[in-house]
Symmetry: C2
Subunit: 262 residues, 2 copies
């Protein structure tokens, strides 16, 4: 039986895929990793290469099978990528909808993985990108942020989306960019919106070094302190039962909050 | 008669609004500034405060008039903000469509401003956000980027959208983040996609200092070197007649290109 279905949201470039792939690699039971960011590189470090996306595969071969879109990855993971629309025309969010429907139809969830993780872009919190939440694919959300303005701005917007949909927030993951007062501002932010910081991930060169070889830190540097941090994060997520609907700030409150820390 | 209708695209947080408001303030003839980013803060430094957005105004007052959504700003500018959807439900891109239709209907373009500038988010290049281009509201695009991966990744995606719509790219604006080889990589990027760098904007503390007072650099530090740079940029844009459909890279080309510079 699936123990948890979680969605990781955050601004583009903030470290969602790095976090998702490393916690999936760190979790020994079966994990289904679903990349829902048009960038489509969540699963690259698990599979060892970029995999074809669901949208691209469907375009070329409308009658595709599960094997065409779901790939085995490192340490008991199975991996898929929704992919994005053609720039300038399609709807990125609808891509997520179409991808989810196909996964359902092809029975991709039938193996009952212990953990399901969605990696979702949070720059534009529109109807499309909220599908994993809205359609009950995911039960709890974690937001990745640094202490930077745009990243917290996006986190606050994501919290607005979660509140609107009466979804549940499990916590905030601070992926450090080493800006001033970073842990302090992220922790105060979590507090403000009625949540908590569930993990603090330091910046580490091992992330790039492993990424370069299309692997996770877990695979390439299993004994490192960074690996230990991802292990602890997934343990804490699996044990977390304090999940709540957040109460985000309005834009004026947010700006006042942020500028009181810089 | 309107001389130019331009759209400035770029990743969230890259410096679009700063650039747009400063070049609008630097241009002495009449300018219509249209913010199309859900963040809705393009015009704040021109008007001196945040203005109500078109989407919010329409929600509260469907029969609103031009005066409710178009505001006078610094140095012969008029300003409006499309605004965004409710997080989690609406479509951010459709917001742009609805806003444009209302501006048209209320005759907001009737005064024939010499210059029209659209400030558009480029993280998600979907149907919605490409409206200014697709519906011929704008004739030429400028992309703001730094030398960072995500910012160039977004720039390349925006170029894909422009190519798809057979739009025209006027050039790349490098808004420096002071990363390694920045001018070199941005200029090589411009070259690769068949465009050119039209301006290089240094990082400057004057930007934050003026922003803090809800003004542009042009207004608060008119004699500064930074102000001069924005003056030169809008002059170069107004004189630019070398605009072309770009030929963006595919994702593998892009990664190979980027990693050859870092
Ligand atoms: N903790 C970290 N330490 C060092 N680099 C990181 C860390 N987290 C992410 N990065 C780097 O930041 C970049 C963006 O991360 P990524 O996971 O792709 O972001 P996202 O999925 O949110 O777009 C990647 O190149 C990655 O190597
Ligand atoms: N040239 C610059 N020098 C210093 N700070 C800048 C510069 N350009 C932008 N910024 C800062 O970066 C932040 C984001 O800029 P903004 O124009 O709001 O980005 P966007 O409109 O693309 O989201 C702002 O706080 C602004 O002060
Ligand atoms: S619902 Fe979201 S993803 Fe879809 S077109 Fe609208 S803004 Fe884009
Ligand atoms: S829903 Fe979002 S991604 Fe889709 S067209 Fe609209 S703005 Fe674009
Ligand atoms: Mg990612
Ligand atoms: Mg902006």
């Amino acid at each position: 039986m699936t123990l948890k279905k979680i969605a990781i949201y955050g601004k583009g470039g903030i470290g969602k895929s790095t976090t998702v792939s490393n916690i999936a690699a760190a979790y020994d039971n079966s994990t289904f990793v679903i990349g829902c960011d048009p960038k489509a590189d969540t699963t690259r470090t698990l599979v060892g290469k970029r995999i074809p996306t669901i949208l691209d595969t469907m375009r070329d071969n409308p009658g595709c099978s599960k094997e065409d879109i779901v790939y085995d990855g490192y340490n008991n993971t199975i991996c898929t990528e929704s992919g994005g629309p053609e720039p300038g025309v399609g709807c990125a969010g609808r891509g997520v909808i179409v991808a989810m429907q196909l996964l359902d139809k092809l029975g991709a969830f039938d193996s009952d993985p212990d953990l399901v993780i969605y990696d979702v872009l949070g720059d534009v919190v529109c109807g499309g990108f909220s599908v994993p939440l809205r359609e009950d694919y995911a039960d709890e959300v974690y937001i990745v942020t640094s202490g930077e303005y745009m990243s917290l701005y996006a986190a606050n917007n994501i919290a607005k989306g979660i509140q609107k949909l009466e979804g549940k927030l499990g916590g905030i993951i601070c992926n450090c960019r080493n800006v001033e007062n970073e842990e302090e501002v992220v922790s105060a932010f979590a507090d403000k919106i009625g949540s908590k910081v569930i993990g603090i991930i330091p910046r580490s060169k091992l992330v790039q070094d492993s990424e370069y070889k299309a692997t996770t830190v877990i695979e390439s540097f299993p004994e490192s302190q960074q690996a230990e941090i991802y292990h602890k994060l997934i343990d804490d997520i699996m044990m977390n039962d304090d999940i709540r609907t957040p109460h985000p700030m309005d834009i004026d409150e947010f700006e006042e909050f942020f500028y009181s820390y810089v």
